[in-house]
Symmetry: C2
Subunit: 77 residues, 2 copies
């Protein structure tokens, strides 16, 4: 579900950039901690939807219906 | 969709705690920036699903079907 991953990734990077502007200078380690924190949150949120899609891999109709529903729920084209 | 909000909130706080343990001591301002960053990410991700549910408020069948689908996709009971 590439579009959903991209949507969440763009939310993640936009909010991280805003946060870094508010924080001012951070060390490389702090920056890395923020990247890890936000990436882990997004990955955990995506865990179940991606699992559902994998489970439906050999049922094309269910898979397509799941994809369309995910698109609808997340306002993807 | 209280369950979905709770699920995402528990992911957010768990990852934030892990991050704070890695970072060591942070100032109150830094802590607040991390709370804001992670809350904004979760709120933006929830924006569309919550909008869809609101849109379906006066169509009970569609609303129920949407709720069930969201539960299924996110592995909620």
């Amino acid at each position: 579900m590439v579009e959903l991953q991209e949507r969440l990734e763009s939310i993640r990077t936009a909010e991280l950039e805003k946060c870094l502007r508010r924080l001012g200078p951070v060390t490389a380690d702090q920056r890395q901690a923020l990247e890890l924190l936000t990436t882990q949150i997004v990955n955990k949120i995506l865990h179940y939807p991606i699992l559902r899609l994998k489970e439906s891999a050999d049922e094309p109709q269910e898979r397509e219906s799941l994809r369309q529903t995910i698109r609808k729920i997340f306002g993807l084209r």
